[in-house]
Amino acid sequence: MMRYWRLISIVAVIVVVVSTFYIQSAVATHQYPAFALEKQRGDEKEAEGVTLHGEYAKEAQYHSLNITTAGSKDDFEGTYFERLARENAPSHIKKLRKDYKAFMRGKDIDMDESMLYDDKSLLAYVELEPFDELDNKYTFDIDILEKESKNRESFKVTQHNDKYSYLDVAGVFVSHGEVIVFTRNYARKSENMEIHAYWFNIADGKLMHEEPILSIDEEDEQTNANINLINSNDGKDNNHFVLFQKDHYVNYNDEQMDSEPWETELLAYDLERKELEKIKLPEEIDGITNTGVINQSKLYFANETEHTFEIFSYDVENEKMKNIYKMKISNAVDPIEDQGITWNIDNNKLYMSSVLSDNISLADLKIVDLDSGDTLYEGTVEAKSQQSLAELDDFIVSGISIE
């Protein structure tokens, strides 16, 4: 036995040291700050299914955090396999991957969800196959799943065109048995970009109709523009219109572009009438960018000033803007500078959250019924221990999602 002393001592040191280290770090990983959404007033039920997405800094590292009434989940927590399964995808994508594993396989939407359409009854995914430069053809690869029956419909449609050098999918919608795909088509010979709409019939897998609906022309050198599709495809929008935002920028010189657009146009495309309308925003909320929320065929905008927070709704059909909610920003819930109020609207309810600077709670959540104006719920994000709160250097609420 003594002959093996080298072997035995090396193995002993390795086993003791490595296992001690990993046992210690396994115990320590349970020490991430814990928070939960706690009711102050109103009906607890309203806050169920609400997730506040936030980010916090601790010891110079940023972590993202999801907070619900049940508690908080840190992106850093969990075993290796849990972290692996969590990936980088947003939670609704992960849920789709779990529920429709076969359909979601090979669909690369972690960073960009514009190729996916998701509503109560079906999922649609449209991918453009790599552009075939030799034959000037591009192929739409369309995949549709009926959620209930698990019926899967796949077809490909190839188009010839030598006008464009590159296409990408800007958005996918399904309406009345047709898949409508919006693409950005980049011109071959100029800097022009067009937004095109393609209608595909699901029943026979044929392209029914195609038309350019919006374009950025090669403007003079002093200006530049950008078009974004701002509908969100988070599974609840049941809209018959698609919203585009066209930002115009001023070029100061060849390289530099102004970071803020000098003009923003909002355009709504009606999927049923196949018409594009320009949305005329009233003076007082002009200049708001990227704040539109669409829910149940209504468009919502927020306007935040130093002392007030207002929500406007816009009806595309009769082109009317209505101020539907106004709140005074009191000192007690003084939002930290530059962060403002994060908000979302679902089912005619307004969800608002802001980071608090009172050093007691981290953030608040308020749910308001937009019909009656009644506050349904008021709550705060509370740290499970005072230590958790003290350890945080910074906290921001980045979004609110409602299940």
Binding site: I10, V18, E59
Partner: protein, 278 residues
């Protein structure tokens, strides 16, 4: 089994002197480094505080606090011995075989004529490399808290931010490869390491069996191992689609790695028994 253990013990003792020197260099360099660097930092602080006549609080506000890892990952005192150990062991992966042929007396005769399976010689050598690596990792794990305490003695509390060891490791890319944050990753990292060592061993045996021609065969075998291990990535690259979910990726990778390890051992066994030239 006892033959194998004897061989491992024997191989360990052959490297023990160099190994202890490596450990000594690491301990001395890292501990000297933490003292020199911390003192240097304190001197710098004093100079700034007296030179610019600012208060301690102002200094901290302006320059912030430091962590142990700030020192460690930016200092050659700390990183150079780690690099030296890695280089020495990588060299020894080859030397562990070639010394038996080119040593004072061709020792490989005796090894291969031992009345036990020849594969034991290979497995013992692989185990030795693995134990040497884990030994150095353990030494580093013992050293880190000691160094952290020295750091704490020298730098006053106001000027430093303390982190638990495992969090410090996560912040350093270099160290988190050697000491990953979870045990599963530890197994994965070093599993890949064992696989690489076995493939190199097989390549060496190819060279020893067929000499010049063997070098070509060794290179081909290495390429084959790479192709097998990264098969799923090649397929996905070709199809331009990520068909597998992350967990499935890991499982397939595990299976492919096991195939490479199995193939290496099988080919090595064949070469050792049938082709090796002494």
């Amino acid at each position: 089994m006892s033959r194998y253990l004897k061989l491992v013990n024997f191989e360990l003792s052959r490297f023990m002197k160099i190994y202890l020197v490596l450990i000594a260099i690491t301990v001395i360099s890292q501990i000297t480094g933490i003292i020199v660097k911390s003192k240097g930092y304190l001197n710098e602080v004093h100079r700034t505080i007296y030179g610019d006549s600012i208060s301690k609080a102002q200094y901290i506000e302006e320059y912030g606090t430091i962590t142990f890892m700030d020192y460690a990952t930016s200092s050659l005192w700390f990183l150079a011995p780690i690099a030296l150990c890695i280089a020495a062991l990588m060299f020894y992966v080859f030397f562990i075989w070639y010394r038996d042929w080119f040593g004072k007396n061709t020792f490989i005769y005796r090894l291969l004529l031992l009345p036990s399976a020849r594969l034991n010689v290979l497995l013992a050598k692989a185990t030795t490399i693995l134990l040497l690596v884990f030994g150095l990792v353990s030494i580093q794990l013992i050293l880190l808290p000691i160094e952290n305490n020295i750091f704490k003695w020298i730098i006053p509390l106001d000027f430093r931010t303390d982190l638990p060891i495992h969090e410090m490791l996560e912040q350093s890319h270099e160290l988190s490869v050697l000491i990953p944050r979870s045990f599963v990753e530890f197994i994965i990292h070093y599993g890949i390491g064992i696989m690489a060592v076995l493939v190199i061993f097989t390549a060496i045996l190819f060279e020893r069996s067929y000499r010049l021609k063997g070098i070509l065969m060794a290179i081909l075998f290495g390429l084959l191992a790479i192709v097998i291990f990264f098969l799923q990535d090649f397929v996905e690259l070709l199809l331009q689609k990520n068909y597998l979910y992350p967990i499935e990726h890991l499982v397939v990778r595990g299976i492919l790695g096991t195939i490479v390890i199995g193939l290496s051992i099988w080919v090595s066994n064949f070469l050792l028994n049938k082709k090796i030239n002494v």
